[in-house]
């Protein structure tokens, strides 16, 4: 059986997606304020982990990590479902821009969607 991670092209696809995805997110004034004042290189590493996870690759992030990592953004900066939707849209456009097919995009977005409750501390 082929896993999602294999189908999408593994680590090479994460590497290809990371810059365009991060550019889209930082360039979106609706969500960019959540990334201000953070170390961009460290943030890019976090994006890598996020993309690896969404692509179905090996990771060790638990729901609890997701919850802890975003808690201050939710309760102090007002991170909400609309912001989450923006990130998913950027994920979708990034993959489309790299020529990933609709079926695979839907699978990736579904994995990312599954973190919503943890990220938003619901």
């Amino acid at each position: 059986m082929t896993t999602l991670f294999e189908k999408i092209g593994g680590q090479a696809s994460v590497n290809a997606a990371i810059d365009p995805f991060y550019r889209r997110v930082l360039g979106d004034p609706y969500v960019s304020r959540f990334f201000e004042g953070v170390d961009m290189v460290k943030q890019a590493e976090k994006q890598r982990t996020f993309l690896t996870m969404a692509f179905g690759g090996p990771h060790n992030y638990t729901g609890l990590d997701m919850r802890k990592g975003h808690k201050h953004l939710v309760h102090e900066m007002g991170l909400n479902g609309t912001h989450f939707d923006h990130i998913l849209a950027h994920l979708r456009s990034t993959l489309a821009g790299l020529g990933v097919g609709e079926d695979l995009i839907a699978e990736v977005v579904a994995v990312a969607e599954s973190t919503r409750a943890d990220v938003l501390d619901l």
Binding site: I18, D19, Y22, R23, L26, G27, M40, V41, A44, E45, T49, T52, P58, H59, N60, Y61
Partner: protein, 323 residues
């Protein structure tokens, strides 16, 4: 099986064990997180022996070159002596030369202590022995120089910088820790274009990195930008001019935010000026040094102009408030 030495004690490691597992089994707890090579919390350094390639996957070039590796991913193939990531030795050096480079920047050259090795662009922490006050300064010298060179910006009421600029005397001894930092040139991709941009004494590490890259045989274009609030803040103009004259791949450009401009200088904000001059930055390897807000601005602007985040190396200077 290869042994692991940490803080003077040697531990055995079984065939299927990682460094992290082995040390944990012996009751030595390293910082750790995901245990799968993602979070980099267990990053340590091999000070003797070579870590396996798999344990360095995902680390950036400069860290690999310094033998950093992830303890959770390392099944050692040979005996390793390891140290925590931030461990550095203390050295003692003599002041061999002091001179002002402009109204507020002093150059200090130190004798090079035996056994001290570094990469051009790294920094050291100078120490005032009387009260153990310490501050970081980037090295402007390169490995083949027989001295260490730092550029000290005199901060109004700054305790360390005023002491270094005004009180420290030639022939006096001074201690330091180091080297630290990962903003340096790594060999490979000799044809890749390089962009070096910095403000104020951010020129110090960039001057070292440029000379280091040239010495390593870098053939691709090297674009160096020295930015300052006003023309008075620039220095080393003739040194840069000479270096560029000797090495055709190097171009040096000053950038001044406001006021009078030297001939050939760009005006305005450095991030915009660089992008206007160079255009698309895709494929560039980028080194940024100097005041933190400007470094962060350039990092962002150059990333948007096409540079890959993986290829941007930044050393943002933190200025400690006076007091």
């Amino acid at each position: 099986m290869p042994d692991i030495t940490f803080e003077g004690i040697t531990y055995d490691c079984t065939a299927d064990e990682t460094v992290l597992d082995s040390l944990t089994r012996h009751g030595v707890l390293l910082p750790s997180g995901c245990r799968s090579g993602s979070c980099h919390a267990c990053k340590v350094k091999a000070i003797k022996g070579k870590p396996p390639v798999a344990s360095q996957a995902g680390l950036r070039g400069p860290l690999k070159e310094q033998n950093y590796f992830l303890a959770c991913m390392c099944k050692p193939e040979e005996p390793l002596e390891i140290a925590l990531a931030d461990a550095s030795d203390k050295y003692c050096a003599t002041v061999i030369e002091k001179s002002w480079l402009n109204e507020t920047v002093t150059r200090i050259r130190l004798s090079r202590p035996e056994g001290f090795s570094y990469r051009a662009g790294q920094f050291i922490n100078l120490l005032r022995n009387s009260d153990q006050l310490a501050r970081s300064y980037s090295l402007a010298s390169i490995e083949s120089d027989d001295f260490l060179e730092v550029h000290i910006k005199r901060v109004p009421d700054g305790r360390m910088s005023n002491w270094l600029c005004n009180e420290l005397q030639q022939d006096q001894e001074i201690s330091f820790f180091g080297p630290s930092g990962s903003c340096f040139y790594v060999q490979g991709k000799a044809e890749q274009p390089l962009l070096l941009a910095g403000t104020g004494t951010g020129l110090a590490p960039l001057y070292g990195i440029a000379r280091d890259a040239i010495r390593a045989g870098h053939t691709g274009p090297i674009q160096l930008f020295h930015a300052s609030h006003s023309a008075e803040g620039l220095y080393y103009s003739s040194e840069l001019e000479q270096l560029a004259a000797d090495h055709t791949q190097l171009t040096c450009t000053a950038c001044v935010l406001q006021g009078d401009m030297p001939e050939g200088a760009l005006s305005g904000a450095v991030d915009t000026a660089v992008v206007n001059k160079l255009g698309d930055l895709a494929g560039y390897r980028v080194f940024l040094c100097g005041d933190a807000p400007v470094v962060e601005l350039m990092q962002r602007s150059f990333f948007f102009a096409g540079a890959s985040m993986q290829d941007i190396y930044a050393d943002a200077f933190a200025f400690t408030p006076a007091g």
